[in-house]
């Protein structure tokens, strides 16, 4: 069922957060921590993960939709692991540590929130299609 290795998965999820491939050590740590090990993945979860891995553009939509409707899913868990790993890498710490911003940045914050809500609506439709028709 799972035709992606842990390392390939790490590349896809890492790219989702970084807009570029994560470095080798990050991929290695993802494989080592292995978020699959405590999983009991349902058939629907499997379909969604396979779709996300084959179509990385969809991850933002699926993540946003699941955050709204059912946040404790297997895809979100794996993304969460990658998030924590990236946060604990010195190369990427500047993406996570608070930094000084002026008040105009608030517009970008509102835009980011609105973007996530838009993605959630599209994602909910996508989730319905995937769970009904598989990952083709």
């Amino acid at each position: 069922m799972n035709d992606f290795s842990l390392r390939q998965e790490a590349q896809v999820y890492g790219k989702y957060f970084l807009d570029k491939l994560p470095n080798e050590q990050t991929i290695e740590i993802y494989a080592q921590t292995n978020p699959h090990k405590t999983s009991s993945t349902s058939a629907n979860d499997q379909k969604i993960i396979q779709f996300a891995l084959h179509h990385p553009w969809s991850i933002g939509f699926l993540d946003a939709a699941q955050a709204l409707v059912k946040s404790n899913t297997e895809l979100r868990k794996r993304l969460y692991f990658m998030f924590a790993i990236l946060e604990s890498r010195p190369e990427y710490c500047s993406l996570f540590l608070p930094t000084k911003r002026n008040w105009l940045y608030l517009f970008f914050i509102f835009y980011s929130g609105a973007r996530s809500i838009f993605k959630a609506f599209f994602g909910i439709i996508l989730l319905k299609i995937i769970t009904r028709h598989g990952n083709s």
Binding site: P98, Y105, F108, I109, R115
Partner: protein, 537 residues
């Protein structure tokens, strides 16, 4: 047959204090302990501040999230799951050796070297005279004991509006640590509105903490490295193992670990102590003249029920209702991370509705930085990528308030020991804990009042998170104190009723559980119990 003089069970805050009192009096003391230890991560954490570590250390993921990701908690979170990798040993062996069955109560126990004290938030509060009376403790003896314990562990604090609830009558304490920007702003706002606060029965001030702000003996002054959830490198924060390490150098003290205490049997001239060697699962028996239990309230309940072999006996249990409330202080949004910072509570807020220092609720306020974004990001109903942008911006303005409520006994809160053939000990503790509607309503109303006060200071609550009963990690009252001498009670001198030489040094005897940080009072009571055990009464 070797008969030991004094045996203390457990190396947590109460065990450490009882042992120190006995050792200082000159008697021979043996401390028996499970003693789960941690060296894998603590030995690799560099002696640097959090931000420097984040920016430079390649190995940081090991102690921040764990080699196997054990610091990343996902899904239904059990009490204690949020512990960082270097604190996870606190839970070692607990599921196997201290099994609990409950749908309503989610406690945390520990078999670690230093017990739950390894993750103690360091909050210190003196109970007021009326609270001490309700608990069942002697006022003047406790006042002396508070001073003794403060000298041993080192307490910092301040004289301010909150000091009647925190530092109390303590005269000799170190100065409070410097607040970060987030708390400074909140406190400034409070100073301007304190009249209105006191009119509503609210008082804010610096918490008393078991933290050194000036070096003392081998312990260094706090250096604001913000690594408090990961490391005890400079020993500025008090941990019970600091005391045990010191006692190990004394000739009249011995420490034996790797043991789970099962039960006692009092004979005519000695006490049999039945243990289990944890590594081999083999029984081991010690003998002593006097026994001091410091196994924690649930531990003592288990042991006493087992030892008295009473079937179907239920014991009461007290715990503080607890919730934590993440808040945002918009004036602090978009500020850069602070290099010198304190991970412990920096402000305390008390609600004393009747103005009599009784039935007080307590909020402890923390900033959020070193526990990292990933722990809070899952609370946002957004995709992780966008949530990162937003939460990173908000982070410098995030405050977390942990809110504790006082607790009285009731018939719907009890523990009992039941058979369990799958358990190593052959039994497990079954806990039933149900709050009645009156209690629930009172807690909810109070929570709303706290949120409203924070709003008045410019901090807005995002949500209330209730991790479930027992998650406060404050427990008491399973062997309530009285003078009747009935089985399953504690006498006012700490002796277990129905025994000649067995004493209870933990909070099992407390008849009431104030919401204030309770460890200082537990340690003071343990000291008094140890003193009482030295008398032949």
């Amino acid at each position: 047959m070797e008969i030991l003089d004094y045996v203390v069970i457990g190396s947590g805050c109460t065990g450490a204090m009882a042992a120190q009192t006995l050792v200082e009096s000159g008697v021979h003391v043996t401390l028996l302990d499970a003693g789960a230890d941690e060296s894998k991560y603590s030995s690799i954490i560099p002696d640097k501040d959090y931000l420097s570590i984040r920016k430079t250390e390649q190995e940081q993921y090991r102690y921040l999230i764990g080699d196997a990701g054990e610091g990343i908690a996902w899904g239904g979170i059990k009490t204690g799951e949020h512990l960082t990798p270097s604190r996870k040993h606190i839970l070692k062996w607990v599921d196997d050796l201290l099994p609990i069955e409950s749908q309503t109560f989610f406690p945390m126990e520990s078999l670690a070297y230093g017990g739950l004290g390894c993750a103690w938030g360091l909050g210190c509060c003196q109970f007021s005279d009326v609270e001490l009376q309700a608990v069942g403790l002697n006022k003047s003896a406790m006042q002396t004991a508070y001073n003794t314990i403060a000298k041993r562990i080192g307490i910092c604090g301040a004289q301010d509006d909150a000091s009647p609830y925190t530092i109390g009558e303590l005269k000799d304490f170190q100065t409070a640590p410097v607040m970060d920007r987030n708390h400074s702003l909140l406190y400034q706002n409070y100073q301007q509105k304190k009249k209105s606060f006191s009119k509503h029965g609210f008082y804010m001030g610096r918490p008393a903490l078991a933290l050194l702000t000036q070096s003392q003996e081998n312990r260094k002054a706090y250096a604001y490295k913000d690594m408090d959830f990961y490391s005890d490198n400079d020993e500025s924060a008090y941990r019970p193992w600091i005391t045990i390490n010191k006692l190990k150098k004394e000739n009249n003290f011995q420490y034996i670990n790797g043991l789970l205490f099962i039960k006692f049997k009092e004979q005519t001239d000695h006490i049999d102590i039945h243990c289990l060697e944890i590594e081999t699962n083999t029984p081991k028996i010690f003998h002593c003249k006097k026994l001091i239990l410091a196994t924690g309230v649930l531990g003592s309940a288990r042991i006493v029920l087992r030892s008295f072999e009473e079937q179907h006996k239920t014991l009461p249990i007290l715990t503080n209702a607890y919730s934590y409330i993440p808040c945002v202080q918009p004036a602090m949004f978009g500020k850069e991370a602070e290099k010198h910072k304190l991970g412990f509570a920096q402000l305390s807020i008390f609600h004393d509705e009747n103005g009599d220092n009784m039935d007080v609720a307590m909020g402890s306020i923390y900033s959020y930085q070193s526990l990292m974004l990933f722990r809070i990001i899952k609370e946002a109903p957004l995709n992780f990528a966008d949530a990162r942008i937003i939460m990173r911006y908000l982070m410098s303005g995030i405050l977390i308030m942990g809110l504790h409520h006082p607790e009285n006994k009731s018939a719907t809160k009890y523990v009992e020991l039941i058979h369990d053939m799958n358990a190593i000990t052959g039994d497990k503790l079954k806990i039933n804990y149900v709050l009645d509607d009156l209690e629930k309503n009172k807690i909810s109303a109070r929570e709303k009042k706290f949120k409203s006060r924070l709003r008045a200071l410019g901090a807005y609550a995002i949500k209330s998170i209730n991790p479930g009963s027992g998650s406060s990690i404050h427990y008491a009252g399973s062997l309530p104190m009285d003078t009747s001498g009935n089985l399953f009670t504690t006498l006012p001198n700490g002796k277990l009723a129905g025994t000649k030489n067995i004493f209870i040094a933990d909070g099992s005897g407390f008849n009431y559980l104030p919401a204030k940080s309770l460890t200082w009072s537990l340690m003071a009571n343990a000291h008094l119990t140890a003193l009482n055990s030295l008398k032949n009464e």
